[in-house]
Symmetry: C2
Subunit: 427 residues, 2 copies
Amino acid sequence: MNIRFYNGLVCAMLDKTEIIEGQEVWIQDNKISYIGHYNPSEFTFDREIDLKGNLIMPGFKNAHAHSGMTFLRSYADDLPLIDWLNHKVFPIEAKLKEEHVYYFNLLGILEYLTSGITSVMDMYFFQDEMVQASLDVGFRSVLVSGINGDNLDSVKKMEENYLRFNGSHDLISALMGFHAEYTSSKELIKEISKTAARYKASVYTHNSESKREVGECIERTGMTPTQYLNSLGIFDNGGGCFHCVHLSQEDFEIFKQKKIAVVTCPASNCKLSSGIAQVEKMVNFGIRVALGTDGHASNNALDMFREMYLTTALQKVITDNASAMDPIKVLEMITKVGANIMGLTDCDSLAPGKLADLIVIDLHQPNMQPLNDILKNLVYSGSKQNIKLTMINGKILYEDGKFNIGIDPEEIYKEVNKIKLYLVSNL
Amino acid sequence: MNIRFYNGLVCAMLDKTEIIEGQEVWIQDNKISYIGHYNPSEFTFDREIDLKGNLIMPGFKNAHAHSGMTFLRSYADDLPLIDWLNHKVFPIEAKLKEEHVYYFNLLGILEYLTSGITSVMDMYFFQDEMVQASLDVGFRSVLVSGINGDNLDSVKKMEENYLRFNGSHDLISALMGFHAEYTSSKELIKEISKTAARYKASVYTHNSESKREVGECIERTGMTPTQYLNSLGIFDNGGGCFHCVHLSQEDFEIFKQKKIAVVTCPASNCKLSSGIAQVEKMVNFGIRVALGTDGHASNNALDMFREMYLTTALQKVITDNASAMDPIKVLEMITKVGANIMGLTDCDSLAPGKLADLIVIDLHQPNMQPLNDILKNLVYSGSKQNIKLTMINGKILYEDGKFNIGIDPEEIYKEVNKIKLYLVSNL
């Protein structure tokens, strides 16, 4: 489809994060073909969309989630991280079958679309089911391996999926990774490092999410999780860590030196009482930071507006400095910085030749008025209600509250509720 | 209008906070006339609404706001409380005229409706303008005086408005109050206490919002703000305090003994880096707590879903206890507890004879699925997107994203933007 967006504001997220008036955005198939003033041409459009003064910008990047966990929303609340994993999450997850996870992923993707999220770095079981759900809907997913335990064969599986998924489809890519230091044997981690080295591949993992995790690692290895992982070569080709709530100054140095990115998940970290990451300090220290929703069991929503607000508001309160964590930087984290960390530089901004992953923000809502500072409004008062349109790879998948994904959302809700009941009754 | 809601779930918020299946809610004029199973009767309805399984519940109560501050949204961000007030808020507020505040209030009310907020305890200049805006739209407002300074005549004005507003209209009531200890002379506060005593009227004020405010009060008076206000008789007839971020153990005792309520405003307190109130401790100590959005300049949204999530998530993280701040209690805070604190016991729950202030929550949205625990979903994953309908005093004012208030929202946006530009250009 060739689509013309006109009569709106454009925030392209290029070098400067600013709003430009009077420009149009043209889409040809799955890419942006033109951005600029109206330019009479022989180009014909299948659809011309009057933005009516609304804002068009790159889609939000969710740099850490477990999309298949939808079924656990409000199932296992009000427990600390380790108890929550061992007593609620792991037992029910042990019963999961591939076809279950397919539907859970579909539900997660629906929720992403309502929140302006156009791509996710997803870590969960049965990666083929996330690939299938993404392709069936038209969603962009970066699959990151979440292997753990001590079976070295799983590293071969990680490598196989890495090779199989990358290049398989426009919408799909893969990164190497594993669940966490505290769920993986030393041998497994070393084997992952060796494999990553062969491909010069960056590696992604959970790291320093809770105090207990850090304490236990120090007790076991004499090192913080960051130091321990670094000692095993995990960071030798770059990569990123999810959460990073409890980092030492030495950890900060390792992140900077090895150019390791942080994916902060403030809602999840609060809800599990894990703590508040020092995001302001990270950014000032030169560490790249992206935002993630984490999974439903710990958040319990996939709402990038919630994460944006928390990212700035929590930094202000923990640093005792109301000017901490510039909201404009937060917007960059969920667009171009997130895209960079996820390996999605083809859709990090709006420019000719870039993949057409974009959203339209409804400014004709009371929470966006008056238009004192639209970009600050997005971070400080925006909500999912402002997502008027979500386009991925040139296709409009969500518009004015309706999904255009070829599957009836009610069918997805029905299946997810049915499977969830089945799983609980078989515990 | 006589309206029948059927085929939905009911959370009446009576003694138990629970969801009942198979009941209907009938509205006659401005009151609830019946709740129960379908009951063939000769009663005729003007409209019958199929809830399609969605949830009907009491509207949210916003127990602290300055609705007229809409014009300051994203105007004065990233500054600490006292600087923010003195250098940004107070100078522009000094230019305000009555007709400006009327439009700013209308914008605030629009935003309340989108968030399921059916009443507000509002403290701002030109109270008649909030009364007029509320009556023009059909919104329910509790006006609380925000006088300050040292002019004792203003106390007479407070008394006059208290008498004039109470009983003037179904939708309007008034409470006594003043801005804060740090903006009011001792004589003024004593005069307010005397006036309140004459009417046995409860008094409401800002209290212990920032560390600096508490420190300066101790320096000036030798007492915390709570002790100081108590010593001047402010709490002798009950009342409530907004924020209460920095309370001492002795303050806690005063709140309990004098049955003073707290209105916590977590989003505002984070954004201004004021701190995080000890809400879990307050509730366990037997202090009644309601939620408030505060004004746009410090929040910057009027979004009760944001406040709910923050209220529980922040308590979990500051107490290092993931089970802290039961989400069900948070739901009670924004319905029946808030109503009680605001003097709105006529619309605190859904029951025959109660005023028809209610909302319909859209459960057919991905963020509410699966239906593991609908009430927890509301707090942990709900968003403004789930507000399908907002009814106040028996009138549907907002439904499926459209306002039904007799005024075009675009006209309100235009006026607010115009006035805002005028004010800034005259600074």
